[in-house]
């Protein structure tokens, strides 16, 4: 995926709408997801991570850029080939109830993708539906029930079963567990991992929960206001975050060791996410950055540059921040 941009036009006018601006939900994102691996995408609400996920599947139209899936340019595919390609890339949604049609029973939900792509019909499709239920750990008796009769975790299993129905290669999971109870989250995450091993799936997991993403991802990208600000192998990102935004995010995670926890320095971010319709000049994070330096952060947009193998950061001062040469401003509150 290269230079992906999704801008939503802001329109005004009663009869003849004219664009007066654009919400830059996703603004120039490059990322590569390797087959059979999991890429985790984190960022706060409204940073564009869901839009990015949907743009990759072309559920929203990208304004610019290319998405390559197995060499096929998804972004410029015509409707019918795109429809056929959809069998190979699927999505798991955040809210499992609202993503299931309340008037369809589970069997009908699972049979629909099979019928749509003429993979199986009639008895074969129904048998396949029961297989799918078994794969996600639901009893065959669930087939005749309706989504509202299930618990949150069970519904998400149904959603995952539907995504698996067509034997896809890529699954984009948009906050797959954030609507679930913590006790159920682990089960669903484990299920996703098992399925990956079993079917060789490639995942793009979108989440705001750092722990979930860390658990299942090989590589993690941190998004801020439509851009990727840092990308690194999972463990490295957690051990040595480089971008001030990532550092601030990590400092919010409690450490399960009381002594370390007591010494933990928390960096609080002030204010809200700026409007993506009118992003700040220079570095997009400079309005909230605790390590902000005069003029350059304000004037110059930092490029995503590689600091180590597979570790890229979009910050002018990443090295100085890492060595402690630049200390956070007093907005940081020691705990």
């Amino acid at each position: 995926m290269r230079g992906l941009e999704v801008h939503f036009p802001i329109r005004k006018g009663v009869l003849l709408e004219r664009p007066v601006g654009a919400v830059r939900a996703v603004d120039g994102v490059d990322l590569d997801v390797e087959r059979g691996t999991t890429f985790g995408l984190v960022g706060e609400s409204g940073c564009g991570k869901s839009t990015l996920g949907r743009a990759i599947l072309r559920l929203v139209e990208p304004t610019a850029g290319t998405v390559r899936f197995d060499g096929i340019d998804v972004a410029s595919l015509r409707p019918e080939p795109l429809r056929r390609l959809r069998a190979r890339m699927q999505m798991v949604f955040q809210d499992p109830l609202s993503s299931l049609d309340p008037r369809q029973n589970v069997e009908s939900i699972l049979v629909e993708p099979l019928r749509t792509h003429r993979v199986a019909t009639g008895k074969d499709a129904r048998r396949r539906a029961r297989e799918l239920l078994d794969v996600v750990g639901l009893p065959a008796a669930a087939a005749a029930r309706y989504p509202h009769e299930f618990s949150g975790g069970q519904r998400q299993r149904i959603g995952i079963a539907r995504a698996l129905a067509l034997n896809p290669e890529l699954i984009v999971a948009d906050e797959p567990v954030s609507a679930l109870d913590v006790s159920i989250q682990a089960q669903v995450v484990n299920l996703l991992e098992e399925l990956q091993k079993e079917f060789g799936l490639t995942y793009l997991v979108i989440a705001h929960d750092l722990a979930v993403v860390r658990h299942i991802s090989e590589t993690i990208g941190v998004m801020y206001l439509g851009r990727i600000v840092e990308q690194a192998p999972s463990d490295e990102l957690y051990a040595t975050p480089r971008h001030p935004y990532t550092i601030a995010l990590m400092s919010a995670v409690p450490i399960p060791d009381p002594e370390v926890e007591d010494r933990r320095e928390r960096i609080l971010l002030r204010g809200d996410l700026p409007s993506p319709a009118n992003p700040p000049s220079g570095c997009r994070f400079h309005t909230r950055c605790p390590f902000r330096q005069p003029t350059r952060c304000h004037d110059e947009d930092p490029a995503l540059r590689e600091l180590g193998p597979g570790h890229a950061v979009a910050c002018h001062w990443a090295e100085q921040v890492a060595t402690g040469e630049i200390r956070p401003h007093p907005t940081a509150v020691p705990s």
Binding site: R86, A87, P102, E112, G137, R145, Y146, G153
Partner: protein, 304 residues
């Protein structure tokens, strides 16, 4: 995965009963427990039974009258022979009320079905396709809605030949924009839901998503509106008949016309205004009560 297993066990023990426990069934159960719904349904049943079995229920002919007893200052009131008395043409009032239910029911059902069908077609097109089709159709509906309903119906009925059919067409036309807007709004609400996105991500074709997912999930408010609109249709039919825009044949009993016919006799025979008025109120009340109860049952947000 032991928790999954226990979940599975829960599943199989919890709902061992019937499997088609859909939302409709749940709504129906709600309705049965609601006294308002029972009353509404009872009134509607009474109304329908009276209309259907009018020839067996009416004690006299609704059209044959005896003018000899009628003067401007005296219309015979209730008696053993005529429980509700005679009308201004010497006809049995009770029989005319009973037969009047037929006109009301016929007009209500036919005009509503016609109006709802055309309205839903327009609404489905607008809500399903969006874009300029939506804008064009909805501006048309706005124009129709800008004129008060009964006034619009009067205009339509006046242009056509006076007949029951004209009344039905007039009321149907009035109902078109109501249903069009309602279904469109409901469909647009559904169109942006996650399950539509899910269907798209599976690769389901657009028309299939609209017909198979969006439309069935958009119908609940339309069903409620249908019940409520039936009440309005009955009132509108009575209103048109009152204004002389009803059936061309004055001997056909219609509640609205019966009200109109008694205007000069209001002093001497006020009961003649009371009975058709009561008949209208009771039938309309039935549909309104059931409509409200239906809305409550189908929209969980309104439940206490």
């Amino acid at each position: 995965m032991s928790i999954a297993e226990s979940e599975a066990r829960l599943l199989s023990t919890e709902h061992t009963g019937d499997i088609a426990g859909s939302r409709m069934r749940e709504a129906f159960r709600q309705l049965r427990r609601n006294p308002v719904a029972i009353l509404g349904a009872a009134l509607i049943t009474l109304f329908v039974v009276v209309a259907v079995f009018a020839p067996w229920l009416a004690p006299h002919s609704p059209t044959a009258g005896d003018l000899s007893q009628i003067t401007l200052s005296h219309v015979p009131g209730p008696s053993a022979e005529h429980p509700l008395g005679l009308d201004t043409q010497g006809r049995d009032e009770l029989s005319r009320i009973i037969y009047g239910a037929r006109a009301s029911l016929l007009i209500g059902v036919v005009s509503l079905s016609l109006g709802a069908l055309v309205g839903m077609l327009i609404g489905a097109l607008a809500g399903g396709l969006g874009g300029w089709v939506d804008s064009l159709l909805m501006r048309l509906m706005d124009i129709m809605l800008a004129v008060p309903g009964l006034l619009f119906a009067i205009a339509v009925a006046a242009v056509l030949q006076p007949s029951l059919r004209s009344v039905m067409i007039a009321i149907a036309v009035v109902n078109v924009p109501v249903f069009a807007r309602l279904l469109r709004a409901s469909m647009i609400g559904q169109r942006h839901s996650d399950y539509v996105l899910a269907a798209r991500s599976i690769g389901v074709r657009r028309w299939r998503i609209i017909v198979g997912h969006v439309l069935p999930n958009s119908l609940a408010p339309v069903i409620v509106q249908g019940t409520l609109s039936l009440a309005t249709a009955i009132i509108d039919a009575a209103g048109l008949a009152f204004l002389g825009l009803g059936s061309a044949d004055p001997s056909v009993p219609e509640w609205g016309r019966m009200l109109a016919d008694t205007q000069q006799y209001l002093q001497s025979a006020p009961q003649l205004a009371l009975f058709p008025g009561l008949a209208i109120v009771v039938s309309v009340l039935g549909f309104n009560l059931l409509g409200d109860a239906l809305r409550e049952a189908l929209d969980p947000k309104l439940r206490r």
